[in-house]
Subunit: 283 residues, 4 copies
Amino acid sequence: MVMKLSFNTWPYASFPTWLPSYTLEETIKRLSKIGYEGIEIGAASPHAYPPTTTKERRIETKKILEHYGMEVAGMLPGLSGGPGHNVASPIPEERRHTIEHYKDVVELCAFWGGKTVLYIPGWQVFGTSLKQAWAWSVEALNEISKTAADYGVTLVIEPTSHDSNIVDRCDDAINMMEEVNKPNVKCMFDTFHALYRREVSTDYIYRMGKDLHHIHISDNDRLAPGQGKGDFVSVVNALKEIGYDGYLSMEIGFDRRDVEPDYVARQAYEYLKPLVDAVQGKK
Amino acid sequence: MVMKLSFNTWPYASFPTWLPSYTLEETIKRLSKIGYEGIEIGAASPHAYPPTTTKERRIETKKILEHYGMEVAGMLPGLSGGPGHNVASPIPEERRHTIEHYKDVVELCAFWGGKTVLYIPGWQVFGTSLKQAWAWSVEALNEISKTAADYGVTLVIEPTSHDSNIVDRCDDAINMMEEVNKPNVKCMFDTFHALYRREVSTDYIYRMGKDLHHIHISDNDRLAPGQGKGDFVSVVNALKEIGYDGYLSMEIGFDRRDVEPDYVARQAYEYLKPLVDAVQGKK
Amino acid sequence: MVMKLSFNTWPYASFPTWLPSYTLEETIKRLSKIGYEGIEIGAASPHAYPPTTTKERRIETKKILEHYGMEVAGMLPGLSGGPGHNVASPIPEERRHTIEHYKDVVELCAFWGGKTVLYIPGWQVFGTSLKQAWAWSVEALNEISKTAADYGVTLVIEPTSHDSNIVDRCDDAINMMEEVNKPNVKCMFDTFHALYRREVSTDYIYRMGKDLHHIHISDNDRLAPGQGKGDFVSVVNALKEIGYDGYLSMEIGFDRRDVEPDYVARQAYEYLKPLVDAVQGKK
Amino acid sequence: MVMKLSFNTWPYASFPTWLPSYTLEETIKRLSKIGYEGIEIGAASPHAYPPTTTKERRIETKKILEHYGMEVAGMLPGLSGGPGHNVASPIPEERRHTIEHYKDVVELCAFWGGKTVLYIPGWQVFGTSLKQAWAWSVEALNEISKTAADYGVTLVIEPTSHDSNIVDRCDDAINMMEEVNKPNVKCMFDTFHALYRREVSTDYIYRMGKDLHHIHISDNDRLAPGQGKGDFVSVVNALKEIGYDGYLSMEIGFDRRDVEPDYVARQAYEYLKPLVDAVQGKK
């Protein structure tokens, strides 16, 4: 079992604010310097929006990743078409557009050596029933998972209660995973969303168990772990208990402009690294 | 001189949050009921993202607009590719993608009878000098303005200091307008950004004068006018003084999820309508 | 490369509040006791307003500085004529008055062994275009820089977005420096203003690079570094990276009356001294 | 007995912030439009700093005042030499400089038809005893009052507890007035300072009685009257009771940048005008 630390690129991209903004090369260099072994890349400008990321740039980025020994811990869709990619939109063309975007992200992720793409199950537009929205989301996930299988990529369903309303709870993700029933469709969760729902993060870890394939670490209000009210000692211990083998990926500091990305990246690393090392018998 | 009230669709779209979310038809119906004469449409899903808005849907929307007697006060780009369309990106493909998006928005706007498209001058990515970013933005504006001219559309440059860093001040917009020097490139401003910069909104009105072609109305923190600390009596009086002929377009309540769109739309209308009627000799 | 710590006199002067208020002699004594190697002196009463600082007092102060081994890290203009010295005022006599004040400050600074005077580029009065305000500021800087050259003094342009509106951004300062194009006109920035603009302080350091000649250190809200949300570990590391050779000058605790100057001076020193020593290879 | 409303120029000057900033002509025009009969002018740039206000400008301003039928309700010193004019400075040259500034303000005030200059009794610098500071302030007031007598100007002593520490209380002002004992030295007070000290404004009115020659109106935190917690109905009634004959001068909205001057001026006028009219038997 190996737990590794990675950092999600939103604060450097940026999303959903426009600033600050760094190139992907600069971001990889900085995260490497701080100590991260992995990077979770949002498929967003100016980093990795597939339609504007040329073949040359993809190759160049691959070399840079190798140069810094930085692994792609995962990728996730960027906003597009306004609020972002809604697999549950009532507009058929929007669902189609979203599915194609996911396939592009899967392909790009695999090219850079990544094995995990996050699946955001979408949101219910007024006039659509929850059953219908769920069905469209499952349909999209089914289709995308086939492409993902071709590329050796696993899709991980993320409950995002703070922002959406289709997969809100731990069991919503598990139920969708079971309904799709594919070996390369698994679960993940984000401690931020758990805290937002006033839930206990370790409940997710024990409940998802061997199907927990990826995890987002964030304190409340997208603070670095240790800066808020979350209990990350328990999180790390629970992960060890279930034999978690994967990334702890920081998704922090991106929901507002007044963040110094290196600062939150360093805060998170310095707080979590000793905890993770301790349970893994290092130091 | 005629001043009319319009409402920007972000709280219904949504942007940058995902919820709440209404179709464009539903949005038009609701705004009409409240009393608005115009709608300012974000080119965003599920409303009007050009690549996923079919010919059929465009025609259908046009009929709905006519049915409700609702004018398109303007259109503005939706986020795409993550943080949104950056005309000043160091990535050439991203600039190209952005310019093409603007052209699509211009075309769609004209099709729906609109005559104004907002121009967001972009933001400076780390490693790009401000001079270079400015030059790329001017270059893009130049190209887009040609297409806009073909469609009888005016582009209005908006200073967005809260979110970006190229056109921050009143005079930045004026200087860019003068540098491009086209009859269909004018200025606008948003009272929210003026308040954010702790500036006086009427300073913008007097300074932009006859080149002020559009205006966003918002109190501080994206509150409806009259709910915060902004002085909208002075704004309406100053608009009358310079002979402003156009829309007062509400851009409010969209930066967070916990907003009831109809509520803020009604608050704004009920506060501003009497002020506007008074200076126009109605009432 | 040597980085040294200095302290700006505003909290002892005081400015812009009237209290607390200490003589310059008392201030030098206290800062020396805390450990500062440099003092940045505001040209303000009762410390160093040139028209009321007699020859005798200048000589006496010089002796006191020598007695305590305290270097003058820099000087900056004091408020005068109300809001302060506006090099961009539409009133010609005010611009003249301001320029003469700067020359007096340059002379006094050199007499006390200082080599740096801060240049505050002024603000735009209603009715003046930004272009005109900029031109007046450049004109003043040009004239002052000649006197400064005679005295071996370097002028450093400071972006002050929190308070003014001509030089707001990093690149505004760089552009003004390049336009004036004199060997004794360089750049500086204040981490407080960067934080106020929700920017990243190290972006300024990398961007200004070899032209960064002076730096103001302050956490958000003029708190001592380490008391707010600023990332000063990154700041010190970035300064080392670019080979910065000069003062880190605290400009803190002066914007309100309820401050104990020695307290904030000590807080800043105790927080920063170890960081600076560490990157300089001291223990 | 006639009570009239005037407005202090700080929010237009600006002081102590730099922005917003309007010329004196623009300020007179705006205050007149709102309805004010009087203007209280800070001797500050860009309005009326004596050393940079030429003879020509003085004559031009006089004509503008006459054109708008605007009376000068009073003048007060501008900041200078940093924190401002301290009549109680331990530095003899600073006291001399301050006294000369007051004489210049008296002369300018009289030239514009004003009959009142505010006297700010200064503050105690560390190392000076209160007795000594008081003595220097009385000495300065004595000298200035002679010049004021020559110009037919009355000096009014203002307790400024929020900002200074020599004349803090109602009776401090009365005692200083009695010690100087000149027919053209009277008292005033500011409801803001009374509220800051958690005192009752009408206590000042009854206590100062016939020696109350001028009054500053402000709610707590420099809000317009009626926007905070002050009781201005009682203030206006008490003024009528003592037969107050003079200006109610708004000194509001100037301690921070994010103020729209016209807005606070209008708020204050619309709130106080009916109260004043009512006690004066106008409807």
